[in-house]
């Protein structure tokens, strides 16, 4: 059984024009999928719809065997926002990472254990008592991921996880994400980043899913990429 399944889904605000239509794809447990498309193509709206923030306009989404219903948030499905500052609101790093686990009603030792583990997985050990707004950009980004991991999600939706990171931080992010067993969908303009992490790519543009297949095939298809305002990543262009 697939972890996430969309069939003929329509996406967009109820009172506006549709952003994406007739969207259908499945994701398996532990699969990593890259989501590519120009700004405004609907990557964020798709994430919000899968995460049950936006209602679907049409079709069915099922996650973990149950239909997704807008407003019913599922702790197994975590989303990491593009702007880390929108997501970090507790005073210190440890408190922020623990937030989701505390809300699940777990016993205190379990919350502490999960927090310590999530901090370690994200390379943040030792920063527990730092105020979140004093963290660097890369640390903030990883703190958001730790705050999601603490809930032990089955699917992570990551919106531009490499934006504004320097190369070292970007490399750390690749290492971190590639080690996680969680299924994830990553929206990014950083195609090299996706190429290293995601065996599979979805390309959306002009209101529909334009391609769904192996990352290498899609990203190296110069005609397809140009048609949708993308450029073949340099590492594939010369390869």
């Amino acid at each position: 059984m697939s972890l996430l399944s969309l069939s003929d889904v329509g996406i967009g605000w109820q009172d506006g024009p549709p952003v994406l239509e007739h969207l259908g794809f499945d994701m398996a447990t532990s699969e990593r999928v890259g989501l590519v498309g120009p700004n405004g193509a609907g990557k964020s709206s798709l994430f919000q719809t899968i995460a049950a923030i936006l209602p679907t306009r049409a079709g069915q989404i099922s996650f973990d065997g149950t239909p997704v219903r807008a407003g019913r948030f599922n702790p197994k499905l975590a989303m990491v926002f593009q702007n880390a500052d929108d997501q970090l609101f507790c005073p210190t790093l440890a408190e922020d990472v623990a937030y989701g686990a505390r809300n699940l009603g777990l016993p205190a030792p379990e919350v502490a254990a999960r927090t310590t583990q999530a901090l370690a997985e994200c390379g943040l050990t030792g920063l527990e008592d730092q105020p979140v707004h004093k963290l660097s950009g890369g640390e903030k980004r990883r703190a958001c991921i730790a705050g999601a991991l603490v809930m032990r999600p089955a699917l992570l939706l990551l919106d531009e996880p490499s934006a504004a990171l320097d190369l070292r931080q970007r490399r750390n992010m690749i290492d971190l994400l590639s080690k996680l067993p969680t299924a994830m969908m990553i929206a990014s303009h950083d195609l090299e980043f996706l190429l290293e992490l995601c065996p599979r790519i979805l390309l959306i543009d002009q209101g529909r899913l334009c391609a769904d297949g192996a990352a290498h095939d899609i990203l190296s298809d110069a005609a397809l990429m140009a048609q949708h305002g993308q450029e073949v990543p340099a590492s594939l262009a010369r390869g």
Partner: protein
């Protein structure tokens, strides 16, 4: 409302007219005010949604005063009497309120944030106040969106709802204030780099503005004179 009237004249005209309407006390003037409100609604093409709260408040005044003020019963709501004096006082307040709301909407409702800020600047208000207005108008939508995203992120992390969310809301507010302070520092640098502090010339009063203002003052004077006469 002709678009050619500048924002400064509109703000002044709304003030003059609003005060004149507030000054009306005679019941005989109610139809005149209603006419004025109707004209303003028609000219301003006001959306009804905007008037829901003022209309509810106006009705509350009519009912509240009708129930509690006076001794000549005009009708009964079941066992409860409604008094003529109270209804009259309530209607006075309600009509004045709604007339002013309609006038303000017609004159100011469709001004862009920029025009509003320009209007205040034209009134020679202290720069601190006009600049603060401009910046608030510029960033209000942004901050609202930030708060909404933070609230979403909180809910996605199984955050509680209802009154139990109150302390979390305080956390979000604190984070937002910290961000605001950081942004203010960058903003101040950006403003100074682009020459902030140079004085902005304020346009002199043109004929159109003078005419609009004269019209507003004449209307106001007429209202008050009629009110005294009635």
């Amino acid at each position: 409302m002709p678009d050619s009237i500048g924002p400064r004249a509109r703000i002044l005209a709304s003030l003059v007219l609003a005060f004149a309407v507030s000054a009306v006390n005679s019941v005989a003037m109610l139809p005149v005010l209603a006419l004025l409100a109707g004209a303003a609604l028609w000219l301003g093409r006001a959306p009804w949604r905007r008037f829901r709260a003022p209309v509810a408040l106006a009705l509350a005044f009519v009912l509240g005063l009708g129930l509690s003020l006076g001794d000549s019963t005009v009708l009964r709501l079941g066992p409860v009497p409604l008094y003529a004096e109270g209804l009259q006082a309530g209607a006075m307040i309600a009509v004045r309120m709604l007339t002013i709301v309609a006038l303000v909407w017609a004159l100011l409702g469709r001004l862009s944030p920029l025009q509003l800020a320009q209007g205040l600047r034209g009134l020679h208000l202290p720069a601190l106040i006009t600049d603060m207005t401009m910046l608030t108008l510029r960033y209000l939508n942004e901050v609202r969106a930030e708060l909404a995203r933070a609230e979403l992120a909180r809910r996605l992390r199984a955050g509680p709802t209802g009154w139990r969310a109150l302390p979390d809301r305080a956390l979000i507010l604190a984070a937002s204030l910290i961000r605001a302070q950081d942004r203010a520092e960058r903003l101040w640098a950006a403003m100074r780099l682009r020459g902030h502090g140079a004085s902005h010339p304020v346009a002199g009063i043109g004929m159109g503005e003078l005419a609009a203002l004269a019209l507003a003052v004449a209307c106001a004077a007429a209202l008050i004179w009629l009110d005294r006469a009635a």
